[in-house]
Point group: C2
């Protein structure tokens, strides 16, 4: 990823990309020192780059673009085989031909967040001042910073208005930030399984994860790359902690209960006797192979700082005053990381702002991760919302044959 | 703690002990190789010792004894100043003169569990075969093992029947095990904030904690004492994880919300910006000074293995068939570690067994830790239950002046 790579144009069509599905190479938007990213901490980050994927085709009116914002440990590989894990994209059940986010109708973009580790500039990138990885010298970024970088990417792609911004969890936070920071650029929005702020319990779990990483002597104050080490064990523990919060008690019970691993009787040892132990160990160890430990610190921190009301005199409704964006707020009843009560508070604030909002509180026992799973009701709601918003936007039934701006 | 110390008799009275309140020295019951503790794993543990505290006076009928079973990281220092922390006993608001567990009426015993680290034999004790600390060579113990050791202690003290067994969390599990293993020795029981089995989510959190300890290179496969190290950082992370589960989301929100630490604006760093971060760090670092890391592994494991129904063909009611013990089951509505639904399931099983049971589901937003806090309703219920059971037991109003056996 050197600076000589040409900036991709948005004219890459789904047909071309479909052939590359098994060999995805993310597109890169590079911003030089004359185009800094103005960060909330006061620092101008430059140069920087954004790695992204697109699916489908931008219509002539440039009115059918959907931005997907990814969650904490996910990335831009929404609907293609992941280049590192070899697994299907994380939203392959949602994004594709004939799926709710239909690539025959919409032009879909997903960009790795700033601070991430899948091609966008982050703490593992090279600090131009030293020629070494940034490490903890990388500035602390926020959800608004991520969204600001995405807006610069859209400018580059020549997309003024997004038909929709969609995302779950940390992605949902970005969706909300889009509607607050650039309301005129967002025709519709689907914040999912998220909240307008990180709660004390949310912060506590993140701090636990960070302390686990930092407790690993191989972390070396963030300079593990230069020390030829990786804080695998600490990061695995952090991942295990987070993973517990992604599943409901009921989902864990149904999946594993108290079932033993390959045996009927306890071993009276510290081996992974229970299936849930072995599952968690696997979640931890597989994660460290695909994710940068410092990025984990930065992205959790960004979520901790997120607080829309806090940025608006403590009054959430103020943030959305006069907004024209159509909202579909989605929550899952068994999500205890971002309880559905948080989404309800958001809906109340949107109502108080006279925003157009529908609220889908989906009954499921699958917990926070439900937004990534096969939950037919969620697919149906997404499809219907986009359909309805598409009509209002003047998108024809094929999406590409736009009938209006 | 050598083997020459004499076995204490139960004739030490509250008046004597009250004078020692600021200088508590736990009593020790030592069991030689001729009196092994028969463990569930098949091993006979011998010699071993149990460290315990008593408060109040055993009456002439030996009918006023209450056994308190302590939780995971607590110990026998229920109502006296803790010799290591210098803080008040963990149940000083519940146990004392005029308090619900009135030391003027009852003879109260609390023993450090087997596997613990406050004087009872555990992984930090010396392995007689090697002359070194047991470490991971210590056999894995279970909740039934803990209770079996307590029963041997009571035999030693000449106490045949307990007036009541009381305890919260892991202590509540021991209470239940007492009623299942020795129903004829338990006149009444108050299992509090507990469950009849560890759920998949419970196991997951414990496994997370164990992995955090074991990830610390200073753990040295449990041989840190011989290596002159302590796995402080891993144990602190484990404690942080556990501590989050002890508080409700609402309690954390009320206590800390998103309040910043000594400042109004974020530092854009990984310092403890939020009060909840600083609180968790303190919880972690203060814990490691008083608790043995290997004990933490063993006691969490014991809880994971606990499953009363599993030991009775999967039918909980079978475990309590024909039981005469009077039960008062106590749960707290905001406890998400041991949800009140688990207590309700226990009550249903007890009802199905025609046991005498009252159920107090206490409305509070303070989470699992409520059983340790000033919750007046809990005090009132405890007092009333003991009062009523005392009448049935024939204990006079002064407790000591028994009117029957």
């Amino acid at each position: 990823m050197t600076n000589v790579q040409s900036i991709p144009s948005p004219s890459i069509h789904s047909e071309d990309r479909a052939h590359e599905a098994d060999h995805p190479t993310s597109l890169l938007a590079k911003f030089g020192i004359e185009q800094p990213l103005k960060l909330d901490c006061g620092i101008d980050l430059a140069p920087f780059q954004i790695a992204y994927q697109t699916y489908g085709e931008l219509n002539a009116d440039r009115s059918n673009a959907i931005l997907i914002c990814h969650a904490l440990t996910l990335d831009q590989h929404v609907a293609n085989v992941h280049p590192m894990t070899g697994k299907a994209g994380w939203w392959a059940n949602m994004v594709g031909r004939g799926l709710p986010l239909d690539i025959d109708r919409y032009f879909i973009i997903c960009a790795n967040v700033i601070g991430g580790c899948m091609g966008s500039t982050g703490p593992a990138s090279t600090n131009p001042a030293t020629g070494k990885p940034w490490g903890l010298d990388f500035p602390v970024v926020t959800i608004p910073d991520m969204v600001r970088a995405q807006a610069m990417l859209l400018d580059r792609l020549g997309i003024d208005t997004l038909f929709c911004v969609v995302g779950g969890s940390m992605g949902g936070m970005q969706v909300l930030q889009w509607t607050v920071a650039y309301p005129e650029r967002v025709f519709s929005a689907m914040p999912t399984a998220c909240a307008t702020r990180h709660s004390a319990q949310n912060i506590a779990f993140h701090e636990l994860g960070r302390q686990a990483v930092m407790a690993d002597p191989n972390w070396h104050q963030g300079r593990y790359a230069e020390n030829g080490t990786l804080p695998h064990r600490g990061l695995a523990v952090a991942r295990m902690a987070a993973h517990i919060t992604y599943l409901s008690d009921a989902a864990l019970h149904r999946k594993f209960g108290r079932r033993m691993q390959d045996r009927a009787l306890p071993t009276f040892s510290f081996d992974a006797d229970f299936q849930v132990e072995s599952y968690l160990r696997y979640q931890g160890s597989s994660f460290v192979e695909r994710f940068d430990a410092n990025s984990y610190l930065y992205l959790t921190r960004a979520m901790d700082y997120f607080d829309i009301a806090g940025d608006h005199n403590g009054v959430l409704a103020q943030a959305f005053r006069g907004i024209k964006t159509r909202f579909c707020v989605v929550s899952f009843t068994s999500d205890w990381l971002f309880p559905t009560s948080e989404s309800r508070a958001l809906v109340h604030a949107l109502n108080a702002s006279s925003a157009r909002v529908s609220f889908a509180e989906i009954e499921t026992d699958r917990g926070h991760d439900a937004f990534l799973l096969d939950v037919p009701e969620f697919f149906d709601i997404s499809r219907a919302f986009l359909e309805s918003a598409g009509k209002a936007r003047g998108l024809g039934s094929t999406g590409l044959g736009s009938t209006g701006g």
